[in-house]
């Protein structure tokens, strides 16, 4: 191999590495900025620039009371929507996978529709529905919750259904054959095997709900969720505590992903 070729190859190999690193930097710069800004003590509310280091944002996250109330509302809606959507969606997934009924194929298709339709369409039609039904004056926490449950449902059904479809239903018959009643079979065999799917669906639901802006904004009335709060303050200077919330959210996501990965590796090791 000539030195020229060798150099070409070196460049080639490291170009890929360099390119990869750049892409990763590109992906993480915004998050890095958020983390950095959470330690920022700005001179002016209107200039978004790192001035000096402080822990004040972390120590007093609720300086702006309205931010914390919006945050807590988002968490409440997120948790409630997650619970309801996960339970309903799991039941629906079981029905779609386990039972042969008239219109099953259509139902399977319809479940996809809310995922596929644009949020703005869903949001405005929901608003039209609420208004038409006479709830135009009561837009707020409950209408947001109803909207969130609705769009989370599709994702739950799809996630749990995939897990269920891969489940050998001989296993449940085997459990019944081994003296487990229907309830015991569900608790000892079905649930443990479907649980990863349900957990995934729940996490997905929470993040979808917490994050939603368009549908929420249309159906919120005077109520403010965290994304709406950030949108609102963005025009007059974002308090640095928003970055604290962003950083915490990011850390929680990382913890979940790393935890899931470690768990997967541990299981794989046990199977090796």
């Amino acid at each position: 191999m000539s030195p020229l070729q060798r150099m070409g190859r070196w460049v080639g190999q490291h170009l890929v590495l360099m390119g990869g690193l750049l892409v990763i930097v590109y992906m993480f710069v915004p998050i890095f900025v958020v983390v950095l800004m959470s330690f920022n003590k700005p001179k002016s509310k209107l200039i978004y620039r790192f001035d000096s280091f402080t822990l004040q944002n972390w120590l007093h996250p609720c300086t702006d009371q309205s931010m914390c109330s919006a945050l807590s509302r988002s968490i409440q809606i997120g948790l409630l929507a997650t619970v309801v959507a996960t339970v309903l969606g799991t039941l629906m997934a079981f029905a779609l996978v386990r039972h042969r009924f008239e219109g099953r194929a259509v139902a399977n298709l319809l479940v996809f529709l809310p995922m596929a339709s644009p949020e703005i369409v869903m949001g405005s039609s929901l608003l039209a529905l609420f208004v038409a039904a006479g709830f135009g004056g009561q837009l707020g926490f409950w209408t947001i919750l109803i909207a969130h449950i609705m769009f989370c449902l599709s994702f739950v059904v799809v996630t749990v259904r995939a897990r269920l479809a891969g489940l050998d239903n001989n296993l449940e018959q085997a459990a019944m054959d081994l003296y487990a009643t229907e309830a015991q079979t569900f608790r000892r065999v079905t649930l443990p095997l479907v649980f990863p799917g349900i957990l995934g669906a729940a996490l997905l639901s929470f993040s979808l709900s917490f994050d939603d802006f368009i549908i929420t904004n249309l159906n919120a009335g005077n109520t403010t969720t965290f994304p709406m709060y950030v949108w609102g303050v963005a025009q007059r200077g974002v308090p640095m505590q928003v970055n604290v919330v962003g950083t915490v959210m990011f850390l929680v996501s990382i913890a979940i992903v790393v935890g899931a990965e470690l768990n997967r590796r541990r299981q794989e090791k046990a199977l090796a």
Binding site: A175, M176, D177, L178, A180, Q184
Partner: protein, 392 residues
């Protein structure tokens, strides 16, 4: 059966049948009838095989006994107790599933302990260890099912069912997923375990060799009904239908005309040669002039040079021409084309006392009359021939 109604509810009473008793069991699905009015008695402690091609209703029957399928009508009794409508978990019956259906989220120990734990047994640990010892898996207790080989998983499935000491153990094509060599050794192993524990085994299979190796009694099923039931040798030697004759081993079925009974025999005109079939091997009304099938197993057919005396008291049938020779080692398989156009299969043991015949050679064939059987001409001569050797 009136006996069903009169049978006392408590098991062990005098008069109750000790074993599995099935009466007029029928299972209809939307488009077809899987099992048609099936009657079956499986004596307690026996190794019973339900043998048939895929789709014959054998698995459906097994699943009805397990309670995993609801019968359309009929009854299933166990030691005199009617269990027809009981939930699967209320029956003293356990199943070894076709693909084992081991719980992937539980280790081997917990898989085997599953049934005992559901019944709140106090002896879980001791029983599980004993059972794992019986199936020689005591070193694998903490592994998960996917970590084991096919043969080991099969043994776990067996242990998981056996540990509950069911009155009847059901085996649904238990060896279908194993390769041939492993299947042979597992057949012997399962038979050994059955003898050791002395429980009633009902085994469903499409593999006639497997059924004959393991079972005391075989019921051959076809299209939802039992064609014939008996000990393996009995079924093989004296099949009552063309299906059994072809499905269990191979048979030559030759079209004949009945000449009528004569003493303990029925005389038939077999394409110009008179032959006698013992009456107890005649499974058709001997109406003079009616057509019938004479069946003879290939290894019972004797082959000789033209005019040579054959060691058989009956007539020898002349005019055969060897059309194909396969030397297998232990035996030689000939196809002999007869004057009426049919090719007769002949298996000859290679004892070394006789020479091989070549293709195209003229030969005579014959057999001992007591080996032949006479079957109904209305039955399809090719029924049960093209059995696929794949698991159903």
């Amino acid at each position: 059966m009136s006996q069903v109604a009169e049978a006392p509810e408590k098991s062990g009473d005098v008069g109750a049948y000790e074993g599995l008793r099935i009466r007029s069991l029928t299972k209809e699905f939307a488009s077809f009838t899987a099992v048609k009015s099936l009657d079956l008695d499986v004596p307690s402690g026996s190794f019973f095989a339900l043998l048939g091609p895929s789709g014959c209703g054998k698995t459906t029957t097994l699943r009805m006994v397990a309670g995993l399928e609801t019968p359309t009508s009929g009854s299933i009794e166990l030691s005199g107790k009617d269990i027809t409508w009981d939930k699967p978990y209320r029956r003293p019956v356990n199943t070894v599933f076709q693909n084992y259906a081991l719980f992937p989220h539980l280790d081997i120990y917990e898989n085997v302990a599953f049934g005992l734990r559901r019944r709140k047994s106090k002896e879980v640990d001791r029983s599980v260890r004993e059972m794992l010892q019986l199936v020689e898996l005591e070193s694998q207790t903490r592994k998960r099912p996917p970590q084991l080989s096919g043969g080991q998983q099969q043994r776990v499935a067996l242990a998981r069912a056996l540990i509950n000491s069911p009155e009847v153990l059901l085996l649904d094509e238990p060896l279908g997923a194993l390769d041939l060599k492993l299947r042979r050794s597992m057949q012997i192993e399962i038979k050994r375990i059955q003898t050791e524990v002395g429980l009633t085994f009902v085994h469903v299979t499409h593999d006639q060799e497997e059924a004959m190796t393991m079972a005391d009694t075989i019921a051959v099923m076809n299209q939802g009904v039992i064609e014939q039931m008996g000990a393996p040798a009995e079924l093989y030697d004296n099949p009552e239908t063309t299906f059994v004759a072809n499905f269990l081993g191979q048979s030559n079925l030759i079209e004949v005309e009945i000449r009528g009974p004569e003493g303990d025999f029925v005389v038939v005109d077999m394409q110009g040669t008179l032959a006698s079939i013992p009456t107890q091997r005649t499974h058709v009304q001997p109406t003079v002039g009616e057509k019938a099938w004479v069946g003879i197993r290939p290894e019972k057919v004797l082959i000789a040079e033209v005019g040579a005396s054959i060691d058989a008291p009956g007539n020898s049938i002349p005019g055969g021409v060897v059309s194909d020779v396969s030397f297998i080692g232990v035996s030689t398989q000939y196809l002999v084309r007869m004057p009426w156009g049919q090719e007769i299969q002949v298996f000859e043991q290679n004892t070394g006392r006789r020479r091989l015949f070549r293709q195209g050679e003229q030969v005579d064939i014959s057999w001992h009359p007591e080996y032949a059987f006479l079957l109904d001409h209305h039955q399809d001569a090719s029924a049960g021939v093209d059995k696929v050797d794949a698991p159903s």
